[in-house]
Point group: C2
Amino acid sequence: MSVGKSGRASVAVLGEHEIIEIIRRRLELMPDSPVSFGDDVSAVGLGGKRLAVLKTDMLVGKTDVPSGMSLWQAARKSIVMNVSDFASKGVSPVAVLVALGLPRDLTRQDIEQIADGLNAGAREYGAYVVGGDTNEASDLVVSVSLFGSTEQGKLMLRSGACPGDVLAVTGSFGKSAAGLRLLLDERCSAPNELREGLLQAVYMPKARLPEGLALGQCGAVSASIDSSDGLAWSLHEIARMSNVGFALDRVPMAEEVFRFAELNGFDALDLALYGGEEYELVVTVKANLCAKAAAAVEAVGGCLLPIGKVTGERGIFFHVGGEKRLIEARGWEHFKSEV
Amino acid sequence: MSVGKSGRASVAVLGEHEIIEIIRRRLELMPDSPVSFGDDVSAVGLGGKRLAVLKTDMLVGKTDVPSGMSLWQAARKSIVMNVSDFASKGVSPVAVLVALGLPRDLTRQDIEQIADGLNAGAREYGAYVVGGDTNEASDLVVSVSLFGSTEQGKLMLRSGACPGDVLAVTGSFGKSAAGLRLLLDERCSAPNELREGLLQAVYMPKARLPEGLALGQCGAVSASIDSSDGLAWSLHEIARMSNVGFALDRVPMAEEVFRFAELNGFDALDLALYGGEEYELVVTVKANLCAKAAAAVEAVGGCLLPIGKVTGERGIFFHVGGEKRLIEARGWEHFKSEV
């Protein structure tokens, strides 16, 4: 057990989710907040029905930037992971602020790469970097904040899923988890063309913003989250905040994940469920509006794959080949996770 | 000269202001932005005359938290330094987001102290912490973002000072600089009661929010900035962005600064001009509205001290006892500054 400087349990044993809970309990909450504390974004009333939508998420070099990822890619990723949360709520990012912690040995060229990556990430999703702050730090730290606006009632929250709704996702799972293992575990290997595809998923993640905006517009979604902490974790979050359960009948996985898993002795389903650092949307859709939602996502070039149903009993199960497998509440978590 | 890992000049020789300039030049700027890039806050149009006002500023343990400052005080300070920028623009902070980088050896009690300090800082200025993110990092990193709103034309920018305007400040200078020297330079000393007052300025800084809101309301201010990088630096920023100069005839200093300077062989004026980590407002006021501005600040319990005039020629001079002393463009700067 890890012990802190004063002899008490350190954050290394608490884990990210417990730390957030410790902090939340000590904060005075904003009265009449339009979004529960702990959803993917925060929101503040602007008068009338308009809401300001806000998000912050920090990228830290030593935990979020695997070897081989360039500074340009790291800076872009810091924006993508924030945009993904906006996408899951159906909100366009408008303005980006960036606070940087920079190690002293970075060069002018390094700073230029970071600036270019930030600009590319923002412009890719229609936003602009409008301000920021630079500081000296031991690690590379890229702390991004997003601003956008929407109308009350249009936000897709984590908390609206109802029994009978259809569970659906915007893509397949497991490539980032496989790619991270290739980078972090020297016992793992893959032939070149497989390796490249998996590393691309790690280095150049994409936020499902067009899909999220289309889903927000079509009015068919009852709850939504992204899969940045892993599909299993996302399902448990919707379940907890909507007070429901799930029965899954499939988990979409790319063929590369099966190949990697077989070559290296992993369970492909484990990689898909408990991976994280992946930015698909995980949504529940009113059953009678499924075709409408799928058409809306296809109209922007995406796809919406039904993978199960919302149930009235708590618990999340995967039904496959007559077997019922429990999906655990674990996934990527800072402090605790050691890939 | 410090040299980076690839043999080129590192950020340690570039300095914070040059790094910001390198980044700014590589960003695509938002069209029709209501505030110039590089002012104390950013702003985005909300439709009609409303503007969303945004700010981010990061506190890093190893450079921004001197010895003896508690985690509670550090967390509170991370909010105060952001609120001070809102104060200088005449805008109320409404919502605070916080991204934390936490060293692994922090304990649960440490996290509680940080949460309490964040909450206290936000509530002190009428805002709420509405969301955030936690991460593992080598340094303590508290990256704060603020959101508020105002009306176009009400923001006090750095860029509106005109020759003939009166230069004024909301308080005296030098206590934080003296306190920091006591903490960081073991050759410095002071009797206990002097020491306590100076350290209090470092540990418990205050943002001049009531003063800033009163000045924003009264419509008398042509340009405004806070003094977080030092009075001299603030004057040079207004001068650069308004294309003016200044003739100062006084620099308000607390009696404690003179005592500390005399005891330890410093120039008190140097401490007051080039210190930083101090959060007074530095404003230019239309000459015929000075009494109105002073009355507005006094009505909220503050004071507005005239210290000089805006001039048409560039250059910032302090006229004292028949002598004319040049005020240099230097102050607190990350990477470069070694107190």
